[in-house]
């Protein structure tokens, strides 16, 4: 059963001028049919302006569709009285870690979500500690956020969502503003959450290396879903990915180039280790 499902989702930003010329309004999302199963780890990739960020904001009713439907756990996101139920089930982590932390002490920031939900104080304490441990930031619980690194701040933001005990976390380019180390920390935290706690993850990104461990990759461009499949299926179509101004993981690219220049490689690798194994088999 699908946990999140969009049916023919369309969206355009309303123009502020009174005379909307309908022929010039461009849909940011154009008939998107997207679904996520419980426990799945889905990556959505696409070039800037592909609509992937807009899609993420529909998944917890921050934006409401102008056409089509979005269902979260069977509930239509347009039902106003279910709004907070939906947001509790699907948490959204944004790109800039600085702009999503509310309090000046880490643990109080993590407590912000459950406090808003009216959870009992002892239960909040338990959830905060659990969430901070899950992202490996427990020892920083009394620090001030502005003294932490980008990767640490982003993990605090993830903990803030985790403390609401959601079924699904949507991350909108969580690593775009981070250095390689921070990137690594955040991605490994997300992967762990998915594997160990069974939390459904939707990762919006344009860094292909981050997607190799996920169950399914969805490629978007111009507000439409172009293709989806396992990372291996999607990235083996190197030409197709290129055409949509995206990259394939470096290891895949290397082997694709070797293949093109005549080396006999029957399948394309996704990460460095696989690439080494493959090449040593072919070359030695």
């Amino acid at each position: 059963m699908e946990f999140i499902k969009t049916e023919n989702l369309s969206f355009y930003y309303e123009s502020e001028e009174d005379e909307i010329q309908f022929d010039t309004v461009q849909n940011v999302l154009d008939g998107v049919c997207f679904s996520v199963k419980r426990g799945e780890f889905v990556a959505v990739i696409g070039h800037n302006g592909s609509g992937k960020s807009t899609l993420s904001k529909h998944l917890n009713a921050i934006l409401l569709p102008t056409g089509g439907k979005v269902y979260v756990d069977g509930t239509d996101t347009q039902e106003e009285d279910k709004l907070y139920d939906i947001r509790r089930k699907v948490g959204l982590v944004l790109q800039n870690p600085d702009n999503q932390l509310v309090a000046s002490i880490v643990e109080e920031d993590v407590a912000f979500g459950p406090e808003n939900m009216g959870v009992e104080p002892e239960e909040i304490r338990r959830r905060v500690d659990k969430a901070l441990k899950a992202v490996d930031m427990y020892e920083y619980r009394l620090h001030a956020p502005h003294k932490l690194s980008g990767g640490q701040k982003q993990r605090i933001a993830i903990a803030g969502i985790l403390a609401m005990e959601p079924d699904c976390i949507v991350l909108d380019e969580p690593t775009a503003m981070l250095d390689p180390k921070g990137r690594e920390e955040v991605i490994s935290a997300i992967t762990r959450l998915n594997r160990e706690q069974g939390i459904t993850v939707v990762l919006i990104t344009h860094n292909m290396e981050e997607t190799v461990d996920c169950h399914r990759v969805v490629v978007m461009d111009k507000g439409r879903i172009l293709r989806e499949g396992t990372p291996r299926e999607v990235f083996s179509q190197v030409e197709f990915i290129r055409r949509h101004r995206l990259d394939v993981p470096q290891a895949t690219e290397l082997c694709a180039k070797l293949q093109a220049s005549g080396l006999k490689i029957d399948k394309l690798p996704l990460d460095a280790k696989e690439c080494i194994d493959l090449l040593s088999e072919v070359l030695i």
Partner: protein
């Protein structure tokens, strides 16, 4: 560097005053301030001074920091004392032209000086021993009764919390913008006052633009975390009164009684 500016003057520590309930501390500060202005003779004043001195010692904050905060207002103290010195009525001890110094004048001058010094000291004790977060928290809870007058206490406290959170972030950003503008040849250190104020414009405009962008993001992040105002909100940290809090209240109450007695009988 601009980044070195710290907001509030919190001095982390683990003394008894640090551990007191912030609500109690705020209420104590208010009552001590009232006390300071309700002392009508030297005995009453000395009781209050003793209390203030005791709290300064108990705060375990280096005396240097207190002196630093005194430095800023030394001129105020001097001016008000001098004015009071010449405003006394009664028989003159010394007189020169229209200035005359009387016994009452000297008394008033000393009183005013001691009162202002105590006032600054005792307020510093609060800000040195209480973190800004605790302070906003205490204020939110103490302001709660104002809710019946339709004062939006939760909203005020939320604004204070967010302001505290973003001050360092925006300072850091100001620093970055300044460097960026300097790198493009902006001159901020020379010229007259008007010229220098004008030089701030290219710093303030990007700062405002980015602050609004941050506000937009933050609002969205808060919505994602089910923020719906103060209604139905719980708090993780419950403030509970401990033995030490009641003891502190008792001490202040005793001093209050002492001051009243001194005022009446001495």
């Amino acid at each position: 560097m601009i980044r070195d500016i710290t907001l509030g003057q919190y001095f982390p520590g683990n003394g008894i005053l640090h551990r007191l309930d912030p609500r109690v501390k705020v209420l104590m500060l208010i009552s001590v301030i009232v006390l300071i202005f309700c002392t009508f003779n030297f005995f009453a004043l000395s009781v209050v001074v003793a209390l203030v001195a005791a709290s300064v010692i108990m705060s375990k904050v280096p005396l240097k920091l207190y002196l630093k905060s005194m430095k800023a207002i030394i001129i105020v103290i001097l001016i008000t004392s001098l004015l009071n010195l010449f405003y006394g009525t009664g028989e003159a001890i010394a007189q020169w032209w229209i200035f005359k110094i009387t016994q009452a004048g000297i008394r008033n001058a000393v009183f005013v000086a001691v009162r202002i010094i105590s006032l600054v000291m005792v307020s510093s004790v609060l800000t040195f021993t209480t973190s800004p977060t605790d302070l906003t928290d205490a204020l939110e809870r103490l302001m709660k009764p104002l809710g019946i007058f339709k004062v939006k206490t939760h909203e005020i406290a939320m604004m204070m919390t967010i302001a505290l959170r973003f001050v360092p972030t925006l300072l850091e950003e100001t620093d970055k913008i300044m460097s960026a503008q300097k790198a493009r040849g902006a001159d901020m250190e020379s010229g007259n006052l008007i010229k220098r104020i004008k030089a701030l414009v290219p710093i303030l405009i990007p700062l405002f633009v980015s602050a609004f962008r941050r506000a937009y993001d933050l609002a969205m992040a808060m919505e994602c975390r089910c923020y719906q105002g103060g209604k139905g909100r719980t708090r993780m940290k419950q403030l509970r009164m401990h033995g030490r809090d009641f003891a502190a209240v008792a001490v202040v109450a005793a001093v209050l009684a002492g001051v009243i007695l001194c005022n009446i009988f001495l």
